[in-house]
């Protein structure tokens, strides 16, 4: 459903992404990993049309994304930025309600259906008990859950997350991945996560895309990507790779 062909992108003279080919099928859970400056965040911003690349082919359901209106695109793709701060005080419910904007027609009134969906997503993400609290006063984990609920209210087919767990403790990291896994299973949602946490990626995702220096170094199952020569070349550190016997997933430990 998502297809990227020969994508190039640069800020001024700095080439950020070079000749990227990437595709995602419905219901895939993909992690994008790579060193700082590899172009991970840029890639998902391009997918959501937040950044524009000249002469690039990013196709969603066979149609170039730049041919979609902002509202049409928001009905298909949801995006969670790395950091979100509201300049003013909105309640949790207000924030989740914003996810219904792509379906809003003309006047500024939400329908009964909008309200129903918002309620459902708040329940799903277990944020309904603090629906009337000020979003800005929530903890990092609570904020992420609210933002995911808001993204889900868009009823998207693809959800893009930029380091959703970087500010969270162990419990909340696992909780977020758990929810994402559930969404993948129950709603056949395509999930693309940019992350530095390779171990969580290896545990939850069927597919990892390793970016380095603006190109795709390797793309495939965790066991094909998490290879120590590849990681050593890309990250410039040696890694120890083993299997966690309790989850049967790979994990890595960097050294030197």
């Amino acid at each position: 459903m998502l297809e990227i062909k020969n994508l190039n992108f640069s800020y001024g003279k700095n080439a950020i992404l070079k000749d990227i080919n990437f595709s995602a099928k419905a219901g895939e859970f993909i992690s994008i990993i790579g060193p700082n400056g590899a172009g991970k965040s840029t890639l998902i911003k391009l997918i959501d049309g937040i950044l524009h690349a000249e002469n690039s082919d990013i196709l969603l359901d066979g149609e170039l994304i730049r041919h979609y209106s902002r509202k049409q695109l928001a009905q298909k793709i949801a995006y969670l930025p790395q950091e979100s701060k509201f300049a003013f005080s909105f309640t949790v419910r207000d924030v989740v309600m914003m996810g219904r904007f792509p379906y809003l027609k003309g006047v500024n009134l939400y329908t009964a259906e909008d309200i129903h969906i918002v309620k459902e997503m708040m329940g799903l993400m277990e944020v309904d008990q603090f629906a009337h609290r000020n979003f800005n006063e929530l903890s990092g984990g609570e904020k992420q859950r609210v933002l995911i609920a808001s993204a889900l209210a868009q009823q998207p087919r693809i959800i893009l997350l930029d380091e959703p767990t970087s500010a969270l403790d162990l419990h909340h990291q696992i909780a977020i991945y758990h929810v994402l896994k559930k969404l993948q299973r129950e709603q056949n949602l395509t999930i693309i996560v940019v992350t530095h946490d390779i171990n969580l990626a290896a545990q939850y995702c069927e597919r990892i895309t390793l970016l380095g220096n603006g190109t795709v170094i390797r793309d495939g199952e965790p066991k094909n990507v998490l290879q120590f020569n590849l990681l050593q070349e890309t990250f410039g550190v040696k890694v120890y790779i083993d299997i966690n016997p309790l989850t049967d997933s790979l994990y890595i430990l960097p050294y030197e």
Partner: protein
């Protein structure tokens, strides 16, 4: 659901109280003045009637419209730039308008097209030019970051202030006097022509912004978030910046630079009705209109029989408020 009903009710109460306050303001403020008059006295004599209908009432209508406009533009700018310090004044748009107007006074051109004078045209041109400069500078590097914009605005204000001084330097005594008096701001008008010019534009902007209220809520969470929620951020920015710089330009030409209304009012009203622009865009301008009428009444009477420029009153109230907001924001 109960909470929702309660918040709708309390919002209606707030708007009701504000409307009542406005009506009271419109009927009491004109009675306060040098010619002490009660309603009865006022309508006994022809002079009283004339003072009321030709001087006081037009002045109050004009003050209301100016306060209304400055508040609503403040609300829109603050949402677009995700910063409650953003107003046409902090961004230098009003300085641009002032520079235009001062150049018009110096040039001595006296053209009038459709009731608009040279001063108005130059002032609108100055405002639009400023917005364009800010937009281009801020866009040249990684988007419209709020801090970049506010800093750009402050710098532009300073630059324009020195250009205004330069024009002063070139001007003769009469011109300088007119410029200084004009730069102090004032709402004294005779007749209804300014108000009638403002009404269609203000109504247009009011309706335009109300239709964009939900989009403004989302934009206040950042451009990337807003784009991903389906808001066409760039056309929204363009639309609002262009129409508000035209309005600011006209207001600056008519009333001189009256600062801080767009800063104080949105902040206070946000404390009462919350951040939802569907409510804020209604309550803030009503309150702003009445507020400016009272500032003007104060300006009219405080050193009676002389008058103080209303810009001095708003600046004396707004300056400390701005610093307080700045400190509060830093702490957060």
């Amino acid at each position: 659901m109960n909470d929702k009903i309660r918040s709708v009710n309390s919002y209606r109460t707030v708007v009701g109280v504000l409307l009542l306050f406005t009506v009271l303001t419109i009927f009491t403020a004109p009675l306060i003045g040098t010619e002490e008059s009660s309603f009865v006295d006022l309508f006994k004599s022809n002079v009283g009637l004339m003072i009321f209908f030709d001087l006081r009432l037009p002045r109050i209508a004009f003050a209301f419209l100016v306060g209304f406009s400055l508040s609503i533009i403040g609300v829109a700018f603050q949402a677009l730039l995700q910063n409650e310090l953003a107003t046409p004044y902090t961004l230098g748009v009003a300085s641009g308008g002032a520079l235009g107007a001062v150049i018009a006074i110096k040039s001595g051109l006296a053209l009038t097209v459709f009731g608009f004078t040279t001063t108005t045209f130059f002032s609108v041109a100055g405002s639009i030019l400023t917005i364009l400069i800010i937009y281009v500078i801020a866009k040249s590097r990684a988007g419209l970051s709020p801090i970049t914009l506010v800093l750009t605005g402050v710098t532009i204000s300073l630059l324009f202030s020195s250009l205004i001084l330069f024009v002063h330097y070139l001007a003769d005594f009469t011109e300088t006097y007119r410029m200084i008096r004009w730069l102090m701001g004032g709402l004294q008008v005779a007749g209804w022509s300014y108000s009638l010019t403002l009404i269609p534009l203000v109504a247009f902007i009011f309706i335009y912004l109300l239709r964009k209220a939900v989009a403004l809520n989302i934009v206040s969470s950042g451009d990337e978030m807003a784009l991903s929620k389906g808001v066409d951020v760039f056309s929204l920015q363009k639309g609002i910046f262009i129409i508000s710089s035209v309005l600011v330009g006209i207001i600056v030409a008519f009333a001189g630079p009256i600062g801080f209304i767009g800063l104080i009012i949105p902040h206070l009203v946000r404390l009462i009705v919350g951040a939802d622009h569907r409510k804020l865009l209604v309550a803030a301008p009503i309150f702003g209109g009445s507020f400016l009428i009272w500032c003007d009444t104060l300006a009219r009477t405080i050193i009676s029989p002389a008058e103080l420029p209303v810009g001095i009153i708003t600046a004396m109230l707004g300056g400390p408020f701005f610093i307080w907001l700045l400190v509060k924001q830093k702490r957060m």
